[in-house]
C-alpha cells in the first residue's frame, strides 16, 4: 500500500513538472580554464523561476556524489537565477577555473514547478555536468572509466 501511495505522490509531483529541459546535459573542457553555457527551456504554459547552484562531484554509480565546491575549483556564473517565460529559453553562461585536474562541476538548475494539493512545494532539479581534463577529447569517458562507472575495454 505504501508503494502505491508513493507512486501516486510521485505522479502528482511530476505532473506540473512536465516539459522542462536542460541542454546540453554534459560538457567537456581540455584546459584549466573553461567557459560555456547551458540552456533551460520552459515548455510549459506558465512562467518558471529557475535558480542555479554549482557544486563539485565525484562520478560514481547512481550519479555520483555531490559536495560543495572544492577550494581548488572556482566558478563564475553570469546569473544564478532567471524567470523563463512560457515556451521560452534562458542560457546560463559560466566560467570555471580548476587549480587541479581533472575536476568535475555540476550545475543544478532548480525549478519550482508548483505545489501538491497538500501544499507541499514541488521542485524539479535538472543537471548540467562539466568534465575538465588535460585534454577535452574523451574527457568524460575517461573520467567515468577511472571512476568505474563504465568498464574499460579489455585489451
Amino acid at each position: 500500500m505504501k508503494a502505491i501511495r508513493l507512486v501516486l505522490f510521485l505522479m502528482i509531483c511530476s505532473y506540473p513538472a512536465i516539459g522542462q529541459q536542460v541542454s546540453p546535459l554534459t560538457n567537456e573542457c581540455g584546459s584549466k580554464k573553461c567557459s560555456g553555457e547551458f540552456t533551460i527551456t520552459n515548455l510549459g504554459l506558465t512562467p518558471l523561476v529557475v535558480t542555479v547552484i554549482a557544486e563539485s562531484f565525484t562520478p560514481g554509480p547512481g550519479g555520483g556524489i555531490s559536495r560543495s565546491l572544492d577550494l581548488t575549483t572556482h566558478v563564475e556564473l553570469d546569473a544564478t537565477s532567471a524567470r523563463i517565460s512560457p515556451m521560452g529559453t534562458y542560457s546560463f553562461a559560466y566560467r570555471v577555473r580548476c587549480d587541479q585536474l581533472p575536476c568535475q562541476v555540476r550545475f543544478r538548475p532548480s525549478i519550482v514547478a508548483g505545489k501538491t494539493s497538500e501544499g507541499v512545494q514541488v521542485r524539479l532539479v535538472l543537471g548540467h555536468a562539466l568534465y575538465i581534463c588535460e585534454r577535452s577529447k574523451n574527457c568524460r569517458m575517461n573520467t567515468l572509466k577511472t571512476a568505474g562507472v563504465i568498464q574499460a575495454k579489455a585489451k
Binding site: E37, T51, D78, T80, R83, M87, Y90, S110
Partner: protein, 489 residues
C-alpha cells in the same frame, strides 16, 4: 475582377511562410480608387506583410517586415509614417527603412526613499528624462494604405529624423525631413502641468515658413479656456487665431469659440456657440455657427443610444434653407450595420438626398465589410473588403534570453530571522529580478561599478506564503553583499 488576380499569388506566398497566424485581406473600392490584397504573417520575432493591388491606374507591389533590433523597432519596406507634435503634422508614404527607439534615463534611485503607497518594497519611478528618435530613409510618394492593401508608389528620394526629449513637464521636439524637393525643418516645445498646457512650434513645413502656438488653461476639471495661433509666410502670408472656452456641469455642457483668419488681404471671422444636454440614453446638442456677416447655421442633433442601437436625427437651419438628416445603426460582435439619409440644400439644385449604407459580418475568423454612399449628384461610391485569420498550427519558439555578462558582481543572501536560507526570494536589483537559490544566495553581474537600487517584492516570491520583509536594504554596490531578512506572516 482585376483585383482577384493577385490573391492566388498572395496565398502561395503565404502558405510557404513559417508562421503561426496568417491574416489575409482582399477588397476593392471606387471611393479609394483601388483594389488588391494583402497577406500578413505573424512570426515569433517579426511581422511580415506583402501586398499587391491597382491604384489610380497603376499596378503596385508592396512588402514590409517589422522587427526589433537592438531596441529599435524597425520596418523595412512599405510603411506609412506620421509625425505630429505641438501643432506640426506631417504624413508620408515610404518604401524604405524606418526605425524608432525610446531611451529612458535613470535618476540616481539609490537616494530615493521607499514610497509609502504601492506594493511593498517598490521605489516607484526613477525616470529622469526620455529621449526618442524616429528616422527613415528611402523612396517616398503616393501611398495606397487601406484595410486591404499597404503599398507605396515611389516617386522621390527622401529621408528624415524626429528627435524628442522630455524631462519633467517639458517636451522638446525637432523634425527634419527632405523629400521630393520639399524641406521640413520644425522645432517645437511644449509644457504640461495639471492646469496649464503650452505648446509652440515653428520653422519650415513642406518648404513653407510657419509658426504655431496654443495654450490651454484648465483651472477646474469642468472648465477650460484655450487659445491658438497659426501663421504661414510663404507662398503667401496667412494667419489664424482662435479663442474659446468649454464648461461641463452635471448633465449640461456648453462651449464657445471665436475664430479669425486673414490671407491674401481677406479677413474672415467666425463665431460658434453650443449647448448640450444628456439625459439617460438621449443626448441633445445645439450649435450656432456664424461666419462673416451673412452665413449663419443652427444645428440641432439628437442621439439615442440603446445597448446595440444608435439613432441620430439632425436639423441644419440656415438662411438659404433647412436640411435634415437621420441615421441609425446596430452594432454587435458578429453583425453591425448602419443607414444614414440626409437632405442637403444644394444651390441651383434644391433639396438633394444623400444615402449611406454599410454592413459588417464576422463568421468565425472571417470578417466582411461593405459600405456604399450615394452622393447628392446621384453617384454611388463603394468600399468592400474581407479579412480572414488562418491558424497554421505551426509550433513556434518562445522568448530567448541569456544571462547578462558583466565585470562586477552583486550578491547577497535571503534568510529567515534564525539564519536559515530562503529559496525563491525575489529581489529586484536595478530593474532586474533575481531569485535566491536553495542556499538563499542570489547574484547578478553588472557592467558598471555604480550603486544600484534594491527592492524586495514579497508578493513575487516563489514560495506561496505571505512574506514580511524585516530587513530589506534599498541599495547596494559591487563588493558589498547584502543580507535580506524575511519572515512568514
Amino acid at each position: 475582377m482585376k483585383w482577384l488576380l493577385p490573391l492566388p499569388v498572395l496565398l502561395l506566398v503565404a502558405a510557404s511562410a513559417n508562421c503561426q497566424t496568417l491574416m489575409l485581406n482582399g477588397g476593392a473600392s471606387s471611393l479609394l480608387q483601388g483594389s488588391g490584397g494583402r497577406a500578413t504573417m505573424y512570426l515569433p520575432n517579426s511581422t511580415l506583410s506583402t501586398s499587391v493591388g491597382y491604384h489610380d491606374g497603376h499596378f503596385l507591389v508592396g512588402a514590409s517586415d517589422t522587427f526589433l533590433i537592438d531596441g529599435f523597432k524597425t520596418t523595412v519596406g512599405d510603411a506609412m509614417l506620421g509625425f505630429s507634435f505641438d501643432g506640426v503634422g506631417l504624413g508620408l508614404s515610404l518604401k524604405g527603412v524606418s526605425a524608432t527607439r525610446v531611451w529612458k534615463e535613470q535618476n540616481d534611485c539609490a537616494r530615493l526613499k521607499p514610497t509609502r503607497s504601492g506594493p511593498m518594497g517598490y521605489l516607484g519611478t526613477c525616470h529622469k528624462g526620455t529621449t526618442s528618435v524616429t528616422a527613415f530613409v528611402g523612396a517616398t510618394g503616393v501611398g495606397f494604405f487601406s484595410p486591404f492593401v499597404s503599398t507605396t508608389r515611389a516617386q522621390h528620394i527622401g529621408s528624415g529624423v524626429l528627435l524628442q526629449y522630455s524631462v519633467k513637464n517639458l517636451v522638446l521636439s525637432s523634425l527634419d525631413v527632405v523629400e521630393g524637393g520639399k524641406h521640413t525643418l520644425a522645432q517645437g516645445t511644449s509644457y504640461s502641468s495639471r492646469s496649464i498646457r503650452l505648446a509652440g512650434s515653428g520653422g519650415l513645413l513642406n518648404s513653407q515658413k510657419y509658426f504655431s502656438g496654443s495654450a490651454v488653461f484648465q483651472p477646474i476639471r469642468a472648465w477650460s479656456l484655450y487659445t491658438a495661433h497659426q501663421s504661414y509666410f510663404l507662398p503667401y502670408a496667412a494667419k489664424s487665431n482662435s479663442v474659446g472656452t468649454s464648461l461641463t456641469v452635471g448633465r449640461f455642457n456648453g462651449s464657445a469659440t471665436l475664430n479669425e483668419s486673414a490671407s491674401l488681404g481677406r479677413k474672415i471671422t467666425g463665431e460658434n456657440f453650443g449647448v448640450g444636454l444628456h439625459v439617460g440614453p438621449v443626448r441633445e446638442q445645439s450649435a450656432y455657427y456664424k461666419s462673416g456677416q451673412s452665413q449663419t447655421i443652427l444645428v440641432h442633433t439628437i442621439t439615442e443610444t440603446m445597448r446595440h442601437w444608435t439613432l441620430t436625427q439632425a436639423i441644419n437651419q440656415s438662411i438659404k434653407g433647412n436640411s435634415y438628416s437621420f441615421g441609425g445603426g446596430y452594432s454587435s460582435n458578429k453583425v453591425s450595420f448602419f443607414l444614414t439619409r440626409s437632405m442637403q440644400f444644394i444651390i441651383g439644385r434644391g433639396y438633394q438626398q444623400e444615402t449611406g449604407v454599410g454592413i459588417s459580418l464576422r463568421i468565425h475568423d472571417t470578417g466582411m465589410t461593405a459600405q456604399t454612399i450615394t452622393d447628392q449628384f446621384g453617384k454611388t461610391q463603394y468600399v468592400a473588403y474581407i479579412e480572414s485569420y488562418v491558424q497554421t498550427g505551426l509550433q513556434t519558439g518562445g522568448h530567448e534570453a541569456r544571462s547578462r555578462r558583466g565585470k562586477f558582481l552583486l550578491e547577497g543572501k535571503c534568510v529567515l530571522p534564525d539564519g536559515s536560507p530562503v529559496e525563491g526570494c525575489a529581489v529586484v536589483i536595478d530593474k532586474e529580478t533575481v531569485y535566491s537559490n536553495s542556499r538563499g544566495e542570489f547574484s547578478i553581474r553588472m557592467k558598471k561599478r555604480n550603486a544600484v537600487t534594491v527592492s524586495v517584492p514579497v508578493t513575487d516570491f516563489a514560495a506561496p506564503v505571505d512574506w514580511n520583509c524585516l530587513e530589506c536594504p534599498t541599495s547596494t554596490a559591487p563588493g558589498e553583499p547584502v543580507t535580506i531578512i524575511v519572515a512568514r506572516r
